[in-house]
Symmetry: C2
Subunit: 375 residues, 2 copies
């Protein structure tokens, strides 16, 4: 694995500052122009009604707590048209059904199951991490208390298995098995994330492994689960998982850039969000691993920060200075390059799968979208 | 449902006091005398090595935290020969495999999966309920913190699905589906339990529904999962689930008696444990529903207790007085009778299943054991 940030020194440094464009990848040439917005909308339109019906199976008050979490109601219980997120996972799940020649609808139970697992992990992670805000709203544990966050998370995780296994087919059993493996990876990733918080140094390799678990594994499952439900063989499913896994790593690299240099208006997070949380994200660990004066200075400052009792009151300028050092040490460029590298591996993985050109173009367009997004 | 505690007034009242024998059920006549201890030991012996191997798949530190929870190591990480509990569930799971003529070993993945779900729920429930002790030891959240309790609970839940679905058979898919349904019931039951804590009154029916979810559903799954893995049809599995569900209600009724009148030496709980926790368990709700002077007096006292700021400092005598009122109002006798009633329904459910006499005798003996146990 080529993870030495100094390797990026030969490239021209980006000069974008916070709020401006994060590094972009030129869209790959595709057979037809793909409307990514329509593709995301299709996944959302197909999955949401089923997701809502499944969540409605929960006994009170879990149904209400879950509806709040998904943004369907506000804290007072009034209907809301919440920000449901980018919906990349459902779009991938229904698209992957088309690999086998099935209708996108065949992927819907997979899309719903993946969304349930994703949201189970958000509910529990927000509580474990003490995060009070998600998508501009108070988190569930903040509004409804820790017990409800645990309980509703558990319930969503159980529903994910239910929605697949009640199909009663051999394919559904295979899909459930892959989803279980992805869920375990997700949990491993959260365990690593927590343990890294207590450590002074995390290597670039450790960070990538954690991000592969936390983000790659479920995107891998999303990218293949529709195909599995449609009867794809294991080799096809494995190749689609590879696409999704590396897409997930590209996704997370961009997320890590947005977590430091993203526009708060677009991301819904505070300025310098990941720095405020002392997150050992890719730009940080890459900068620390790079060596050189800026890297060493950054290491000293972050070590002092870790012991500081006044950290919560740091000014905008103090975080900006840390971000500038990360950039000077090469952490920003390296992470942008890493996103491109993972994007390339994802696209290459598609090459092993026989699928209609139209479907391949859509997978490619979704991968392009993931690395150019600003939120 | 006949749940009026006054209906028990015609029967002779037991005179046992705390620490003495709880009401017993005469063992049903069986073809051969069954050694229940050996039966429980068989389940434990078959399931534990596989359970340990599966838990060992967890990434650090989750493997250690889980090993502590199961009593395999102490808080310092030294090997321990912990109290693994009664192991009724694994015994039932491997026994149920024999219904189909399969070897008990065929039920082992089911036994392990059920134990994983059971322990997932213990980890999360102890945290939600703030319980600091389980089986004479500090609970996981108390030793390793809330995040690890959440995370390891999640991991055990995921492992449960994994251990079944990796079998890759149609039967394993059916077993996983039934286990998912049981898990959802377990979560519903915990949600009810939490909501009842905030209410002044809970009906006997509501209490039974909650106990059916919290205890009945997983014992139902344990009693049938081996048969499902062995290829039993749905009618057979459903009948075995009925046996296990009502066995679970009998089990819980006895647990509720032990929670008030059990011997602390045997149960590992404090004296008057459930009263100290203000639990609205069966004896309490039955006593409150009974009417009459003792019932009314109890209602007044518990209502005052709910508002008392000094409740934590109540003396042994004050709890003993409450227990005496519950008994006087008929709550103790009614609960003992309920255990017998559920035991009878459980045994009757076995009648619908064709199985070897030897296997039937063992199911019957396990049911008898559940209602005569003292811990």
């Amino acid at each position: 694995m080529k993870t030495d940030p100094r390797a990026t020194d030969r490239r021209t440094r980006g000069t974008a500052s916070r709020g401006e464009t994060v590094p972009t990848v030129p869209p790959a040439p595709t057979a037809d122009a793909v409307d990514v917005t329509a593709l995301l909308e299709r996944g959302r339109t197909l999955a949401t009604p089923v997701l809502r019906a499944v969540v409605d199976r929960l006994a009170p008050p879990m149904d209400t707590v879950a509806a709040y979490h998904f943004g369907w109601i506000d804290a007072q219980g009034n209907p809301a048209d919440g920000d449901g997120g980018k919906a990349v996972r459902p779009a991938l799940a229904v698209l992957s059904a088309e690999v086998t020649g099935a209708a996108p609808e065949a992927g819907v139970p997979g899309a719903v199951a993946v969304e349930l697992v994703h949201n189970f992990s958000l509910l529990h992670d927000d509580l474990m991490d003490g995060d009070e805000q998600r998508r501009h709203r108070d988190t569930v544990w903040k509004i409804h208390g820790p017990a409800q966050a645990i309980l509703v998370g558990d319930a969503l995780f159980a529903l994910a298995g239910e929605v697949l296994l009640e199909l009663g087919t051999v394919e559904a059993g295979r899909a459930a098995r892959r989803l279980t493996a992805a869920s375990r990876a997700l949990i491993d990733g959260q365990a690593q994330d927590i343990s890294y918080e207590h450590r002074d140094r995390v290597s670039v390799e450790e960070c990538l492994e954690m991000e592969g678990n936390k983000t790659g594994a479920l995107l891998a499952c999303a990218s293949s689960i529709g195909a599995v439900l449609g009867g794809a063989d294991d080799a096809t499913a494995d190749a689609l998982e590879r696409y999704g896994y590396h897409l997930g790593l590209a996704f997370q690299a961009i997320d890590d850039l947005l977590g430091i240099w993203g526009d708060p208006e677009a991301t819904g997070k505070q300025t310098w969000s990941d720095l405020r949380q002392r997150k050992k994200s890719l730009p940080v660990v890459a900068a620390l691993a790079a060596g050189g004066p800026a890297s060493e200075r950054l290491g000293e400052i972050l070590a002092a920060d870790a012991k500081s009792s006044d950290f919560a009151n740091f000014s905008e300028e103090e975080f900006a200075a840390r971000a500038a050092l990360i950039e000077e040490a090469g952490g920003r460029d390296w992470t942008a390059e890493e996103a491109r590298r993972q994007h390339t591996i994802a696209i290459e993985a598609l090459g092993a799968v026989d699928m209609p050109d139209r479907v391949r173009a859509r997978f490619t367009a979704l991968a392009d979208f993931v690395v150019v997004r600003k939120r």
